[in-house]
């Protein structure tokens, strides 16, 4: 039995220990805010925070996070008012919105690590997250806004 804390709640799994965390979250735990985009850690749509680090849940097994704390978009802030989320809304970032949970989690992890990133640091840190609609200009501006206070 694998135990993992997700958004503060203890969850357990006694199935395949190699099951990617992504599919545990989405299909077993019903936390569908985390998205599937590539399955190979190439697009970042599935980004969650494990302890304090952004990870790609599509290549992280449920076993890899045993005993650790996982935060998904649903658990980032109780009312959805994390500075990154607020900045996102202020800048009207999303188009289709599908990649945005991953983008927001990546940005939140970046700001935990580096509260005042430069534009170059933002562009570098966010480059693992693909947005096919092409919202990058606004994502960059939103991360910058979140870092300076919303």
């Amino acid at each position: 039995m694998i135990k993992v804390k997700i958004n503060g709640q203890e969850q357990s799994w006694d199935g395949d220990p190699d099951l990617p965390l992504l599919w545990f979250l989405r299909d077993e735990a019903g936390l569908t805010g985390t998205k599937f985009g590539c399955g190979q850690a190439l697009c970042g749509a599935c980004t969650v925070i494990v302890d304090k680090e952004a990870v790609r849940s599509c290549i992280t097994s449920i076993n890899d996070v045993a005993g650790r704390e996982v935060t998904t978009i649903e658990g980032l802030h109780p009312s959805g008012d994390h500075p990154v989320q607020k900045a996102w809304r202020q800048v009207n970032v999303p188009q289709c919105g599908f990649c945005q949970a991953g983008q927001i989690m990546q940005a939140a992890a970046l700001l935990m690590d580096n509260p005042k990133p430069s534009h170059d640091q933002i562009r570098e840190a966010m480059s693992g997250n693909i947005c096919r609609c092409g919202c990058y200009q606004r994502i960059e501006n939103a991360v910058h806004l979140a870092s300076t206070g919303v």
């Binding site: 199935g15 395949d16 190699d18 099951l19 990617p20 992504l22 599919w23 545990f24 989405r26 299909d27 019903g30 936390l31 569908t32 805010g33 985390t34 998205k35 599937f36 985009g37 590539c38 399955g39 190979q40 190439l42 697009c43 749509a45 998904t72 978009i73 649903e74 980032l76 959805g80 989320q85 996102w88 809304r89 009207n92 999303p94 188009q95 289709c96 919105g97 599908f98 990649c99 945005q100 949970a101 927001i104 933002i122 562009r123 570098e124 966010m126 480059s127 693992g128 997250n129 693909i130 947005c131 096919r132 609609c133 092409g134 919202c135 990058y136 200009q137 606004r138 994502i139 960059e140």
Partner: protein, 770 residues
């Protein structure tokens, strides 16, 4: 109206494909037999004549009835239905906003609900062709105005005053002389009893009184849900007892399963069943490709199970498709005369006598849509009833196809439209929903079919591959006197009709025969090209290769004559005029030519606007260059200036992009800006990396490592969007797609300015590194 002569009764992009071969839409409807329509309300209007657009010619036309689209609750909440699909353009907000504007509803008290697929009730729902705002600005205004008048009439009766003395203002009706007011909620029950006013003579708001339209102050309705993970896409639908499926499909389009061994797959923990999926013969339209499905308790187990399948395929006739060989075939075809599709003067003769001939042969490979959400659908089929939840651009078409595929009446099929995690044309094709329906029928439980990224790249309805060859004849003064453009590419029609090997008229009309330059001798030709995979429409469709060729050629002519790119472009566009190409059945994006002619004054204006705002001719650092391009598509006019920087190693960056767009009367300039910003990135993606290639009939790319798209670190540093203010009577035109076509040629012209290298084949790849 004689519908037999009106191919517009066929759905969207298919409508100019040979009617007799298209079984997708009922031919009965094509003949104008409307007995199958269920009218939602007896007085409902479904007319085309009132519109300056082609909306009425779309399948199921337009419905203008506030009782279909608007509900007012006693607490004052106004619910407005969005009947088009949201894939990132903002349409789910924009269309209801138009209704709210006209009915004087307070947007903060409006709830938007997504309509299910039912075109008899809602009118056409195909969300493609950059048509939603263009076709529905006026109908949505009429719906809002009708609702407002019904509320006003109810108030006037309550107060026993003439209706002319009352006025709806911001969610209440006021009687100014007495100072009485009633909220929309208080009037809801009475207003519902009022008759719906006739569409003719409806008094619309003066646009000077607009609170929302054209302002850009309203955010999309899903913004909060998107940022908190609550927004529901196709993949997010979960039903009790639902099973998860992934499918192994024939690696070659049109291939068939020879044999399979499920044993290893069935041993994977969580895998419950392995079964065959029915496939349709090539060309398969939107029907499933067939294959083997792995059914599991979660998607991860299904994918692992599929990896363990042992499969033997018969690749069939398309197994020989090879992109390197095919490119040579296209090039050879482009060097010989082909079917003449536009002719003015005598281009062949003029080219022979020209002082100089500038020739450009351009190659653009297949592209995949690669929306961030791969295709996915949930189906629950019970007996002769089916319910679908899916991210589809064409809910009405999906409903028809599900009914046909399952052999049940359309009335028994409910298609729930989720948010789309990107669409770009891929999700107009509902094969993934049909797969889910077939599996749910067989298993008797709800099934979710999830495509992986590899599935998405391997089984897309790809953007075509093309060679565009242009020869421009110049006289001794450098004036262009002859223009011969041969465009050769497999056609979208090949997906619907075996052996289709010439472009359909809608494809010809996307940048080939509608070329706007003022040249005495013009010849446009379309040599044959066979298709060996599913060809579909990708954001802006044939405009991508045509704008690339035409606007690159402008740069080549500028270079050959030693003139400025922008001045060369304006000289070619010529005098402000309405262009009347000598073309039989000019498509014009399905719009009446009177309302939406090719107007070179508007084309010139976006060039001049982008040149002014984008500071054309400014000094740029060494290694930088500026390029310009303009293109009319989806009846909008767009010009782009790209500044590029190429370093000594050939590494390319884009410090600045400026785009000017004239899309006529618009609803939300903030979303126009976001579409154009995104189009620049999609344009840069296709220019720098975009290529899907085939070897032995199979797509070679697998995922985002070998089908690369632009990431943030290489995206343009800034894209500035400049919107032309509309004239009072300028009808609305497309926004979602037109931003894409001019980007790549502007970039090529910029690269030439920076490096002296002319890139004629996409993607750029390593060409600058040589």
């Amino acid at each position: 109206m004689n519908f037999i002569d009106n191919p517009g009764k066929l759905r969207g992009f298919e409508k100019n494909i040979k009617v007799e071969k298209v079984s997708r839409r009922s031919i009965l409807k094509g003949l104008g037999i409307t007995g199958g329509f269920v009218l939602a309300a007896p007085v409902m209007t479904r007319q085309a004549f009132a519109y300056e657009t082609g909306a009425g010619n779309m399948p199921h036309g337009v419905v203008v009835d506030p009782r279909v689209f608007v509900a007012v609750a006693p607490d004052g909440t106004v619910t407005i239905l969005a009947h088009r699909s949201e894939m990132g353009t903002g349409v789910r907000t924009s269309l209801p906003l138009i209704v709210a504007e006209e009915m004087e509803a307070d947007w903060s008290k409006v709830k938007v609900e997504q309509a299910h697929g039912d075109e008899a009730k809602f009118g056409n729902q195909d969300t493609d062709g950059s048509r939603s705002t263009r076709h529905y600005l006026m109908p949505m205004r009429q719906i809002g105005a009708s609702a407002r008048i019904m509320l006003e009439q109810a108030a006037a009766k309550r107060w026993n005053v003439p209706a002319t003395e009352v006025k709806a203002v911001n969610h209440e009706v006021v009687h100014s002389s007495s100072g009485r007011k009633l909220g929309f909620g208080e009037l809801a029950a009475d207003a519902a009893k009022e008759s719906v006013p006739a569409v003719e003579g409806l008094k619309l708001k003066d646009r000077r009184d607009f609170r929302y339209l054209g302002k850009g102050q309203v955010s999309i309705v899903d913004l909060h849900d998107i940022t908190t993970g609550k927004a529901r896409y196709g993949a997010d639908v979960r039903l009790p007892g639902m099973k998860y499926a992934v499918i192994a499909r024939p690696p070659v389009t049109g291939g068939k399963l020879t044999s399979f061994d499920p044993d290893a797959a069935l041993k994977v923990p969580g895998v419950e069943k392995v079964l065959k999926v029915q496939g349709w013969p090539w060309p398969s339209k939107f029907q499933p490709l067939g294959g083997v499905a792995v059914i599991a308790r979660n998607t991860g187990a299904a994918i692992k199970g599929r990896d363990a399948l042992k499969l033997v395929w018969d690749d069939g006739a398309n197994g020989k498709y090879d992109s390197i060989a095919y490119r040579k075939e296209l090039e050879e075809a482009a060097r010989k005369p082909g079917l003449v599709v536009r002719q003015e003067g005598d281009a062949d003769a003029a080219l022979k006598t020209a002082a100089k001939v500038v020739t450009g042969e351009y190659y653009l490979p297949h592209l995949a849509h690669a929306s961030m959400e791969p295709p996915v659908a949930v189906a629950d089929v019970k007996g002769d009833k089916a319910e679908i939840w899916a991210p589809v651009q064409s809910p009405g078409g999906t409903r028809e196809d599900v009914a046909k595929t399952l052999g049940i009446p359309e009335a028994n099929v409910t298609v729930n439209v989720t948010l789309l995690g990107g669409g770009f044309g891929r999700k107009s094709k509902c094969d993934f929903a049909l797969e889910a329906a077939l599996l749910s029928k067989e298993l008797g439980v709800p099934v979710k079919v999830q495509w992986t990224r590899e599935d998405d790249l391997h089984h897309d309805f790809l953007h075509t591959v093309s060679v565009e060859r242009i020869e421009a004849g110049l006289d001794k003064d450098g004036k262009v006197i002859a223009w011969r453009h041969r465009s050769v590419a497999p056609t979208i029609a090949s997906t619907f009709a075996a052996g289709a090997n010439h472009a359909a008229s809608f494809e010809l009309g996307m940048g080939l025969v509608d070329m706007p330059f003022e040249i005495a001798n013009i010849s446009c030709e379309n040599p044959e090209a066979a298709a060996f995979t599913r060809i579909g429409w990708f954001r802006s469709v044939s405009n991508i290769p045509r704008a690339f060729a035409v606007q690159s050629m402008v740069g080549e002519i500028a270079n050959a004559t030693g003139r400025d790119q922008k001045e060369t472009l304006l000289a070619l566009i010529g005098s402000p005029r309405i262009v009347k190409p000598n073309v039989k059945d000019l498509w014009n994006y399905g719009e009446p030519y009177d309302s939406y002619p090719i107007d070179t004054a508007r084309l010139r204006k976006v060039v001049e606007l982008v040149a002014e705002k984008g500071e054309w001719g400014r000094q740029v650092p060494k290694g930088h260059g500026l390029g310009i391009a303009v293109h009319r598509s989806f009846v909008s006019y767009i010009a782009t200036i790209v500044e590029v920087a190429v370093d000594e190693k050939g590494k390319l960056t884009v410090p600045r992009v400026d785009t000017a767009i004239d899309c006529g009367t618009y609803v939300n300039p903030e979303r126009i800006a976001s579409q154009i910003e995104g189009a620049a990135i999609m344009g840069l993606s296709l220019a720098k990396y975009g290529a899907v290639t085939f070897k032995d009939g199979k797509v070679e790319q697998k995922n985002f490592d070998d089908f690369q798209v632009i990431r943030m670190d290489e995206s343009p540093a800034v894209t500035n969007v400049h919107i032309v203010p509309p004239g009072p009577d300028t009808p609305p035109s497309g926004v979602g797609e037109p931003g894409v076509p001019p980007f790549a040629p502007a970039l090529m012209n910029a690269i030439f300015a920076a490096t002296g290298k002319r890139i004629r084949a996409l993607p750029i790849g390593k060409q600058l590194e040589a």
